[in-house]
């Protein structure tokens, strides 16, 4: 792991906080996977196992006022932002106590109280809406920033171009965070993208762009700190391409036959979680006992959330008439 000397450096507190968020993501992901596998949860699941450093580091810098727009693979982004897990679980189970009363589901979780404004199932659509939230922050004269999460594949859709140009033009306080996990469904990055680095595209939109090792909390920390300072200071957006890998493939059940032999195994050697844990221990930022206690607390939180979610009521059919408009539709 690199620790560039002139860049912003995380202290012990920051490192442990980032690690806590990573564990929260991974323990929650593990619980979702096992619950689906036991047949207790029916949902399409886009695990982000392997990508934890990215939202954990970004979220370290965010408050509840800061907002995110994310994608179907974005449960990690909400968990990293400390969205409460009970309504999250009720939502993925399609129950009334879900954040969206069971009407959005795992691809569309929303929780404005913690700044989770939009989760979209449409590739690329997080970006134009993030701009609007950032425009509001600009007009309010607030220091609030907005994160637009999107995949490498999404950088090839028209909405990316339109949104990046407008953000650059209006100097919006938005940070475009792209976990480049090397695949868009079954198509590799190389087969789908005409440049070798998405960050190169930033120059076309008048904003800085960086390609980072998205599994390295130190490199992530330095770039996110700079990008967020820039946005809060009214200097405009930044594009962060964060290289990583998705260990579970596109969607749960993916046979991953489209990947070259050995690619996944090699990526897993670079699993950021055990590596970062070891680094924290080696450098004396935390003890084994502290990390163990933290993990146990998180596991308890996840277990309680799962229990809460699965015990919540299923919504009644009346809900089909509510929230279409502010005024309830007549029966």
């Amino acid at each position: 792991m690199s620790e560039a000397s002139n860049a912003p450096q995380p202290d012990t507190k920051a490192l442990v906080d980032i690690y806590r968020r990573m564990v929260r993501i991974e323990r929650n992901d593990d619980a979702i996977l096992s619950t689906i596998r036991k047949g207790r949860l029916q949902m399409p699941y886009y695990s982000a196992r392997g990508q934890e450093v990215i939202p954990a580091t970004v979220s370290h810098f965010l408050t509840d006022e800061d907002q995110i727009c994310t994608i179907y693979r974005g449960i990690q982004d909400m968990v990293a932002k400390d969205m409460p897990l009970k309504p999250l679980w009720a939502e993925i189970a399609g129950r009334v106590d879900g954040t969206c009363k069971g009407k959005g589901g795992p691809m569309h979780l929303t929780h404005p109280e913690t700044g989770v404004m939009v989760t979209t199932g449409i590739v690329g659509s997080s970006m134009p809406i993030a701009n609007g939230l950032a425009w509001a922050a600009q007009l309010d004269g607030s220091k609030r920033v907005v994160i637009a999460y999107f995949g490498d594949g999404a950088s090839n859709i028209g909405a990316f171009h339109e949104a990046m140009n407008l953000a650059g033009l209006w100097k919006l306080p938005v940070i475009f965070v792209c976990p480049n996990n090397r695949y868009a469904e079954h198509t590799s990055f190389e087969k789908g993208t005409a440049v070798d680095k998405i960050s190169k595209r930033a120059v076309g939109y008048g904003m800085p762009g960086f390609t980072i090792d998205g599994n390295d909390p130190f490199e992530m920390y330095a770039h996110v700190a700079t990008a967020i300072d820039r946005a809060r200071a009214g200097e405009g957006p930044t594009l962060l391409e964060c290289n990583t890998f998705r260990f579970m493939g596109h969607v749960l059940g993916d046979d991953m036959k489209y990947m070259p032999e050995g690619e996944l195994a090699k990526a897993k050697e670079n699993d950021p979680l055990p590596a970062f844990r070891q680094k924290l221990l080696d450098d004396g930022h935390a003890t084994e006992a502290q990390l163990e206690e933290m993990t146990q607390q998180i596991e308890q939180e996840v277990a309680a959330a799962r229990e809460f979610g699965m015990a919540s009521e299923v919504p009644s059919a009346d809900e089909l008439r509510r929230d279409v408009f502010e005024q309830e539709m007549s029966a």
């Binding site: 404005p112 909405a159 339109e162």
Partner: protein, 327 residues
Amino acid sequence: MSTTKMHAIQGVNAALHQAMAEDEKVLVLGEDIADPEGGGITGAAQGLSTKFGDRVRSTPISEQAIVGAAIGAAMAGYKPVAEIMLMNFTTVAMDMIFNHAAKLRFMSGGQTSVPIVIRTLTGAGWQTAGQHADHLEGWFAHAAGIKVVAPSSPADYKGLMLSCIQDPDPCIFIESAGTMFIPSEVDDDQGPIPLGKARIVQEGTDVTLVTWSSQCIRAQMALEGFAEAGVSVELIDLRTISPWDRETVLASAQKTGRVLIAHEAVRDFGPGAEIAATINEELFGKLKAPVRRLGAPKCPVPFAKALEDAYIVQPADMIAAVKGLMS
């Protein structure tokens, strides 16, 4: 009460000025929308940027980004009015409009809302052919979560625009070529006109003629012809296509027993089909004739003047159809 004679677009302009002055959360954005760029394609936003500064922004030619910016700002408490220069250009922003603006309230379980207005110009008659003149209200009326408004008179342009801006949900506001050239008096204190309420333009007893937007104007041009044919026509301007005023239409249909629906949109699968089906479901057995529909043929809007005239349902077509319903 003092009035001012104005065109449809001046009605929109008056509404925008009033709404921006009354509520500092109202924003206006779109291509060429600020004063240095001309106040939008019809000048409907003229004077706004000079008066309200940064709350009015000209944008790049980026329809997805325009609607996306409006959605995000709306979710954060603003009331953006976005101009999409022409209705055909909504097609390149359809994901933002249909998948996001219209659905986010429901999909978030009511936690977020998207109170935006999309103003858009369209209509055949200017020989702009197949990509600049479609009436797509049926597309949007088919979507849950978005209101579709299509006025015909200058007073309605002002009053309905005020309501769209105040509405807590997204609205598409259609400004049609065929409505733009007949100025009329508008009360200086014309306030919001409720959405979802039709206007009875003329009362009658023989045939109910349901129209909106440009076809309400053409229907008014046919009124003399109806009278000459000895048919008493009740002319309804629907004004809001979704949600539409079933009560007014059904009451009139029950009274006359005969209904003609005329819209500029393509007839097949058009909004007229929904209205006709509802009338049949509610009033079967009470009708004196099957409900008739007039709409554009299923072809793109043509260029040649002769073809364009043939494409548009004309007053003479309405007179013929009304006579047909009586025989």
